[in-house]
């Protein structure tokens, strides 16, 4: 039998892998395999970063030792915004191409992102008490970060409130896309308004206004929080994926059921 020739080239390895990853059983195996590694590597890198932050880096000439909380505050703040952006991207992909796995991934972003936002607010206010003399101030940066927390909670609440999982993910994802408009406001809030919060001191490109001897643990922490997020994302998405696929054969087989 002669098959008609097709004009489409055979998909190369990377593209095939990407398509396979969209299938629930394949994703389950992938997540189960890599999530522990991501968490392990995250503990390792954050351990190095924290050791450097607490024991290696010299104390600040003005703030003394209390500035060391920055090594948690700044990576957490960056993650709180990066995760929201990623959630928006996943949600947009899910809305346009209706990829089920992207819905799951978008919704799996929210709890971890909310946790990072909470860490940012908590460490900021612990630092603010001795430095600014107040736990809280209605400063643009602080206020917008608090609104970000409410947006995360709104996304999670909306996802939990609708019965149909796919409808819920699409509605909550839509809210996430709308909420992305807040991110530039947070990013530039210290520039647009007079703010108690300090301006940008750390730059990935160009010269930071922070001494180089103080920067290196921060880089470890940034990589560590990213890895930690990757691990939690995979775990959460895997759990949600399994919950949605309950009743399918491959889940029953995974659970050890005998047919």
């Amino acid at each position: 039998m002669n098959l008609p020739p097709t004009n489409r080239p055979a998909p190369n390895g990377l593209i095939r892998w990407f398509h396979q990853l969209g299938s629930p059983p394949y994703f389950d195996r992938f997540a189960a395999r890599w999530a522990p590694w991501a968490h392990l590597l995250a503990l390792l890198t954050m351990g190095i970063g924290l050791y450097g932050a607490l024991f290696q880096v010299p104390a600040d000439y003005q703030q003394g030792d209390s500035f060391r909380i920055l090594y948690i505050h700044v990576p957490a703040a960056w993650m709180s915004m990066a995760i929201f952006a990623l959630m928006g991207v996943y949600a947009a992909i899910a809305l346009v191409w209706r990829i089920k796995l992207c819905e799951i991934l978008a919704m799996a972003c929210a709890p971890t992102g909310a946790a990072f936002t909470l860490v940012t607010l908590a460490t900021g206010s612990i630092w603010g008490k001795p430095m600014w003399g107040t736990w809280w101030d209605w400063d643009p940066r602080l206020t917008t970060e608090l609104i970000l927390l409410f947006l995360y909670l709104g996304v999670m609440g909306l996802y939990a409130a609708i019965d149909d999982r796919r409808d819920a993910a699409r509605a909550a994802g839509f809210l996430a896309i709308v909420g992305v408009a807040l991110l530039p406001v947070i990013r530039w809030s210290v520039v647009w308004w007079n703010s108690l919060h300090q301006g940008q001191t750390i730059r990935l490109f160009g010269e930071s206004s922070m001494d180089p001897s103080m920067v290196w643990p921060l880089l470890w922490m940034i990589v560590g929080t990213k890895l930690w997020f990757a691990g939690s994302l995979l775990n959460r998405a895997r759990a949600d994926n399994l919950r949605r696929e309950t009743g399918k054969d491959w889940v029953a087989k995974l659970a050890g059921a005998t047919p």
Partner: protein
């Protein structure tokens, strides 16, 4: 398009007329909020006057929030919403008309009552024009943003506190600039900047909010 709009307007007004009592509910709610604030602050004119404009803004905002759930719910329950989606006019156009009608029937009565409520709170008379201006520019933004949230939650049987949780973060900038304009005027500063920002926000939300709300309606009610 104009025909569809006028039909929708006529229907909404008729429905409103058959339930005349409900139309006064938001204004009544705002009055109760103002009374509770006044009593909670001790009722002294010295204590009330500085916060009067902020309390009035909050009362109007909360009254609007309370009315938000009714924006599309009735139509979703009796099936009119399906007809909206099948109609030969764009969905966003119907959403826009409905939202403006909703603003006229729920927000405007409260705004009309604001001068009276202001007297209860000993609002300085010089602040009244700026307050009214900021409310007239700001409350349509609240209604338009609220339409997006109401559209997202229309599929749920009881949205409850979720509507507030979703809407309030979006309302924050409007409240900041709206109440900020009055605060600036009371300190002798120029309130025009904040009012212009509100106007800009109103123009943007007039364009984008109906589109977003229409998309959200299709997601939530398929």
């Amino acid at each position: 398009m104009r025909q569809a709009a006028s039909a929708l307007v006529r229907r909404d007004l008729q429905l409103l007329w058959t339930r005349r009592g409900d139309a006064l509910q938001p204004a009544l709610f705002a009055l109760l909020t103002v009374v509770l604030f006044a009593l909670g602050l001790g009722g002294e004119a010295d204590a009330l006057a500085p916060v009067a404009s902020a309390v009035l803004w909050l009362a109007v905002l909360l009254a609007g929030l309370l009315a938000l759930d009714s924006l599309f719910r009735g139509d979703a329950e009796d099936g009119s919403l399906e007809q909206w989606m099948l109609a030969p006019v764009p969905l966003w156009w119907l959403v826009l008309v409905r939202t403006l009608m909703h603003w006229l029937t729920t927000a405007l009565p409260v705004i009309v009552a604001v001068p009276v409520l202001g007297e209860l709170l000993h609002l300085p008379h010089a602040q009244l024009p700026v307050l009214m201006g900021s409310l007239l520019l700001g409350t349509p933004i609240l209604s338009l943003l609220g339409a997006v949230v109401a559209a997202l939650t229309v599929g749920m049987r009881r949205a409850g506190v979720l509507v507030a949780l979703l809407a309030l973060p979006l309302y924050v900038p409007v409240l900041v600039f709206g109440a900020g304009a009055v605060a600036a005027a009371s300190q002798g500063l120029d309130p025009v900047g904040a009012l212009l920002l509100l106007g800009a926000g109103l123009s943007i939300s007039l364009v984008f909010a109906p589109l977003a709300a229409a998309a959200a309606l299709r997601i939530a009610h398929n």
